[in-house]
């Protein structure tokens, strides 16, 4: 530290000196110059808004007039409101059921990890749902669930079950949306595992085979430990995906019927854009952010540890 500051003063006092000390000074700034545009924009559109939303959650604001400081009132109201607990409960449900995506993705990856003609195309087609927009997926599934003519009811009817208006049932609507969300999520996990399977250590597998390891034991004790980086990523992106769920809720039900399928992300949007309760909306966003921050921190700690 001391050295740097002397170098700095030297550079300022004697600008005409040989270029060497000047380069030492400027070299310290080089990475920052490379980073400046990205950092500037990122601070403006990501870092500052996070801080700003935290502040806003202590105000009452309709988006146009003056902001009034109301302390923790937004949060008190929030924890008293039924729709907040519905949204939170639904988010938990999303997280739990989304945890099916990694194992199912792994199962599909194991199924597809073969070398037969056309397998590349098959893998690509399995990955397909991840590439298309969630709006399209929402549309496809609302139609799949259509109470009159949707395929779901057609199938239920054929097998003699009671048909169901899934998206207008307060009891089942969230499950219906989660299934739609699982579809691309499974595809994502599958790709992560397929790449993981490609980088397995063949010697270990051969050794295990010589020891007659088979089936479940082989998978559990030889393969899964080697796949743990893929599992880590799959679990993290799945949890984050579950907490971020917005597009499907917005396009399939808009939180309905009667708010029963809302999630925190959608509730926030609804309160601020439709009800003009910006401060209250910000409070919802802060709660969502804090829940996610746990996973983000977990992810960062793990990743940065592997960097060192």
């Amino acid at each position: 530290m001391l050295q740097q500051s002397t170098a700095k003063t030297k550079g300022i006092q004697r600008p005409n000196q040989s270029p060497k000390p000047q380069r030492i000074i400027s070299k310290r700034f080089v990475p920052w110059i490379f980073m400046a545009p990205a950092l500037l924009l990122f601070s403006l559109y990501v870092l500052y808004p996070i801080a700003s939303s935290f502040m806003l959650s202590f105000y009452s604001w309709d988006g146009l007039g003056d902001k009034t400081w109301i302390g923790f009132d937004n949060y008190i109201q929030l924890f008293d409101s039924e729709s907040f607990w519905t949204a939170l409960k639904n988010n938990v449900l999303w997280m739990i059921l989304f945890m099916l995506a990694p194992p199912i993705g792994l199962a599909i990856a194991l199924f597809l990890n073969q070398e037969v003609a056309g397998i590349r195309l098959v893998k690509a087609l399995f990955f397909f749902p991840f590439v298309i927009s969630q709006v399209v997926i929402g549309l496809v599934f609302s139609w799949f669930y259509d109470p009159h003519l949707g395929l779901l009811n057609t199938i239920l009817d054929v097998f003699g079950f009671q048909t169901i208006a899934l998206l207008s049932s307060e009891e089942y609507v969230t499950y219906g949306i989660i299934v739609a969300g699982l579809w691309p999520q499974i595809a994502y996990c599958m790709i992560l595992y397929l790449t993981g399977l490609n980088s397995l250590n063949p010697d270990q597998i051969e050794a295990a085979r010589l020891d007659r390891a088979k089936g479940w034991k082989m998978l559990r004790y030889i393969i899964l430990p080697q796949l743990s980086p893929a599992t880590f990523i799959a679990v993290v992106v799945t949890v984050i995906g579950a907490l971020r769920s917005f597009d499907l809720v917005a396009t399939m039900t808009a939180g309905g019927p009667w708010g029963s399928s809302t999630v925190l992300a959608y509730m926030m949007y609804e309160e601020s854009i439709f009800n003009y309760r910006m401060g209250y909306g910000a409070a919802v966003a802060v709660v969502l952010f804090l829940i996610m921050a746990v996973y983000i921190a977990y992810f960062l700690v793990n990743m940065l540890r592997s960097e060192r």
């Binding site: 490379f34 990122f42 403006l44 990501v46 870092l47 790709i191 790449t195 992106v237 949007y269 952010f289």
Partner: protein, 283 residues
């Protein structure tokens, strides 16, 4: 290789496996297949409830023509292109610079800067929503293509920087060092040595974030309100509201909206998957 290659199994297993592949694909993509079928159905089929059977007539040209003639779909599609292409280029450019800084310079804040870029990439959009909307309004960019472009560049920079950094870390240091010994400036090193070497990564990254930005729905709702700016995702969902019973036209619209990222994915599949896993397995 795991599982055991199917080649070593009995011929019967082999045949069963090969038959099971197209069947599982069909089941997996059934909802999509139905949409594509429906997009070429006639309105009579829809009215009679023939949603899932074979179409009585193929109205491919009529339906798709109708979508472009009587809805704003063409405009939405154009908007999506106007927004996505510059946003991809901007994010890739900024993050290549930043990724180089984080990969090849040792400084105290390095790891923290990386953590900020990664962490920022995972935050829920809602925590950004109100301030970003206010910012966009005060910059005079609300309801303009530029408003969305700016946000996408800024936000995608988080993921892209991690991605580029992970790629550039792998480039040999000796190359840079020998250039430095020869007195080449840092910026020339970046331009003439690093940039040509990262080209494959740029392709992978561009394909990947093209689909991310193209498929964005939330910000299209928050930062845009008129048809002249609205991208195809938000456009499609507003059509869904207006054309409630015309499932054939909505399906055609959905196919149109999905087509560009899907085409890009198939054309550059290897890049796409490499991109996804380089960004993901390391970070």
């Amino acid at each position: 290789m795991y599982p055991t290659p199917i080649k070593h199994a009995s011929p019967l297993t082999n045949i069963l496996y090969r038959i099971s592949l197209p069947i599982t694909i069909l089941l997996w993509l059934m909802p999509l297949a139905a949409v594509m079928m429906t997009s070429i159905r006639s309105i009579q089929d829809i009215n009679q409830g023939n949603y899932w059977g074979w179409p009585t007539s193929f109205n491919f040209i009529e339906n798709y023509n109708m979508v472009f003639q009587s809805t704003e779909m063409g405009q939405y599609l154009l908007n999506s292109i106007i927004i996505t292409l510059p946003a991809v280029m901007g994010a890739v450019a900024l993050s290549t610079l930043a990724g180089f800084a984080l990969a090849k310079y040792k400084f105290k804040a390095n790891i923290w800067m990386l953590a900020i870029f990664i962490g920022g990439n995972f935050v829920p959009f809602q925590i950004l929503m109100i301030p970003v909307r206010d910012l966009t309004i005060s910059l005079g960019l609300y309801d303009t293509h530029m408003g969305l472009i700016m946000f996408h560049i800024a936000f995608q920079t988080g993921f892209c920087t991690l991605f580029m950094r992970n790629f550039i870390v792998g480039l040999p240091n000796e190359l840079l060092e020998s250039a430095r010994v020869d007195g080449v400036s840092e910026f020339k090193i970046f331009w003439y040595i690093v940039l040509p070497l990262v080209r494959p990564a740029l392709a992978a990254l561009s394909v990947l974030i093209f689909t991310f930005i193209w498929n964005d729905y939330f910000w299209a709702l928050v930062l845009v309100q008129s048809d002249t700016v609205r991208p195809v995702t938000a456009g499609l969902s507003s059509l869904q509201g207006q054309w409630l019973a015309s499932w054939n036209l909505i399906s055609a619209g959905a196919v149109v909206a999905a087509l560009p990222p899907v085409t890009l994915f198939f054309a550059m599949q290897r890049h796409f998957i490499a991109g996804l896993t380089l960004g993901a397995t390391k970070g």
